[in-house]
């Protein structure tokens, strides 16, 4: 298969590329063709989504043909980028020379004895010039070399959890650093002195990454396990809760921005969000408030904050993608993010067993009681209880003491014989509970 001439790119479940550590997306273009004019056997990829990162050119197949694997070309394999000829009659084209193995393959390492010229045809209505500028920049910066040598130790220790290592934490600082670096690129070279400060900052950032990695590994290995040999007493971390809080601030290395994604912004944001919410969702028991996610997501992005509107749009786009999470609107209008595997039945099961405890049978429970037991926010607990009420599981008691819920046994009672108590019913359990009081 000719397609095998290009290495395959790994994608997340939501169809976002899995980036290397330190890799950042620079630009996205839709409807891009890839071909080689000199080698006919070279794969001809049609209307792919092209993502330029600091390390690679990623080619994602159009959504309707998801069977096509995603491909990438490492920037390190590019030997030369040719200047483009503009024509009124053709879509803009970019040509560049890539080194290949003797069999004509583009290798992941980027080394090879032969070479081939590849053409990108941009059929979209995007501006090719700004893309070319970014392409040149990324290629010249040679970021892959820096992270290649720097991440040696880090990736080695993080091997056990490959997918996590990829999303590895650079705290909000990385965003600032990146911005700084971009500015730095555009300023005059005579400002070289200033770089030294920046470099110092950069090396600090690297330390922070290492520290982050260390802490994460420690948490992963369990709070009870022995501290690793390298850590001193100072490193001793507080409670697990603190660690979790800390983990929440772990940054997204390559946030999708309007700048990089352009027209594809919401779509890509939606996919990135789908990947991001998985962990907080797990912790929250399968359902989480929009507001909570808004805070967490923006905290993780650090610098490239999104608006609530963007979040809502990104969430509503999930319907169109095959992702494992969904947006749910309660009757009250409260919106939550829920994982598709999460079932209400499980929650209702927990509410039922909670309601059948003697204390709850006698005095009922309030939303805040339920919140504590279920481990969710009171507003959310109330939604659950109201949903359970709608299903006939619980019923309400409104009195000067407040709004409380009781197990619902109305449906078990027989109006023809109001004194009848069926054995093994909720009603009989309740009678036992109140008479033992």
């Amino acid at each position: 298969m000719a397609g095998d001439l290009l290495p395959a790119a790994e994608l997340t479940e939501s169809g976002r590329p899995v980036l290397y550590s330190g890799e950042v997306e620079c630009s996205l273009l839709s409807a891009v063709d890839l071909l080689s004019e000199e080698v006919p056997s070279f794969p001809h990829l049609k209307s792919f989504l092209l993502i330029l990162t600091t390390h690679r050119l990623l080619l994602l197949p159009p959504p309707q043909t998801t069977t096509d694997p995603s491909r990438f070309i490492p920037l390190s394999s590019i030997q030369q980028i040719f200047s483009t000829k503009k024509s009124m009659f053709h879509s803009p084209r970019i040509r560049f020379q890539v080194s290949t193995t003797p069999e004509g393959k583009v290798s992941e390492s980027g080394r090879g004895s032969k070479s081939v010229v590849i053409t990108l045809v941009m059929r979209g209505k995007t501006d090719p010039d700004s893309f070319i500028v970014k392409f040149w920049d990324s290629w010249r910066k040679r970021d892959w070399e820096a992270s290649g040598s720097g991440s040696g130790a880090g990736s080695g220790s993080g091997e056990g959890s490959s997918s996590l290592a990829v999303r590895m934490p650079v705290v909000g600082l990385s965003g600032i650093l990146r911005k700084e670096q971009e500015m730095w690129e555009s300023t005059d070279k005579t400002l070289q002195d200033a770089f030294q400060d920046l470099n110092a900052l950069m090396s600090k950032a690297k330390e922070m990454v290492t520290l982050a990695e260390k802490m994460r590994l420690k948490l992963l290995s369990g709070s009870n396990s022995q501290p690793t040999s390298g850590t001193s007493n100072d490193d001793e971390m507080g409670t697990k809760e603190e660690m979790q809080d800390w983990l929440l601030s772990v940054g997204i290395v390559s946030p999708v921005t309007k700048e990089s994604a352009g027209a594809l912004y919401h779509q890509q944001l939606s996919r990135q969000l789908a990947d991001f919410v998985k962990k907080p969702l797990e912790r929250a028991g399968g359902m989480i408030n929009m507001i909570d996610i808004y805070c967490l997501f923006n905290r993780a992005r650090g610098t490239e904050l999104i608006s609530p509107d963007d979040l809502l749009q990104a969430c509503s786009l999930w319907e169109k993608f095959d992702v494992s999470v969904m947006l749910r609107k309660f009757d009250s209008g409260v919106m939550v993010i829920q994982s598709k595997t999460h079932s209400d039945d499980e929650i209702f099961g927990r509410i039922r067993s909670l309601m059948m405890k003697t204390e709850a049978l006698v005095n009922g429970i309030s939303a805040s009681d339920a919140a504590m037991t279920l481990g969710v926010a009171p507003a959310m607990a109330k939604e659950y209880l109201l949903a359970a009420e709608g299903k006939g599981l619980v019923c309400r008691d409104v009195s000067p003491d407040g709004f409380r819920f009781y197990i619902n046994f109305f449906l078990e009672l027989d109006p023809q014989n109001i004194y009848l108590v069926k054995d093994h019913s909720r009603y009989s359990t309740w009678i036992r509970a109140i008479s033992s009081r």
């Binding site: 009922g364 009420e389 709608g390 006939g392 019923c395 309400r396 008691d397 409104v398 009195s399 409380r404 009781y406 619902n408 046994f409 109305f410 449906l411 009672l413 109006p415 023809q416 109001i418 004194y419 108590v421 009603y427 309740w430 009678i431 109140i434």
Partner: protein, 179 residues
Amino acid sequence: MQTLGEFKLPHFFNYPPYFTLQPVRDTREKQIQLWKELILDYCRTQKIFIVGLDEDFPLFTNAVIERSLSHEAREAFLSALVSEGRAEWLDKGRRKCLILWHRIQDWADLILSFARDNGLEDGVMTVDEIRSGIESRGTELHGMERTILMRALKHLEHKGKLAIFKGTSADDEGVKFSI
């Protein structure tokens, strides 16, 4: 089990949600049915004919669990009785409700068998005699609400079982049976 005077209350009378009008349809329907039966049962045993919404009707408040029905709930439960023909509003403002634990038809049948038992197939009686006379003592007719009695008598008159004749005042209205 809790009692109200001599009336035995069902266990669920101490169930706080019983005193809150339930919003969910299935639950609410069951709750209303239970209230209807309880009200009829209680009124029948206690010989209560009229329930005032704003008065202290013993069933509407449960001091043990400190719950009391809202006005809306009282009206909902009594309306349910009215729509089934087991009660009637006495005023447009829906403040007083006549409870018919026997339907008018059933009351009429009771009057007929009372008349037969006392050999009054062709006899004459005043309305007040039926309600409080010696003959009716010990029967369900004794002490019955005048409004209901008149309704039942009119029903019988309509069927040709008796004739109502008026006296000088409401007090001496009488009936002549012709069974």
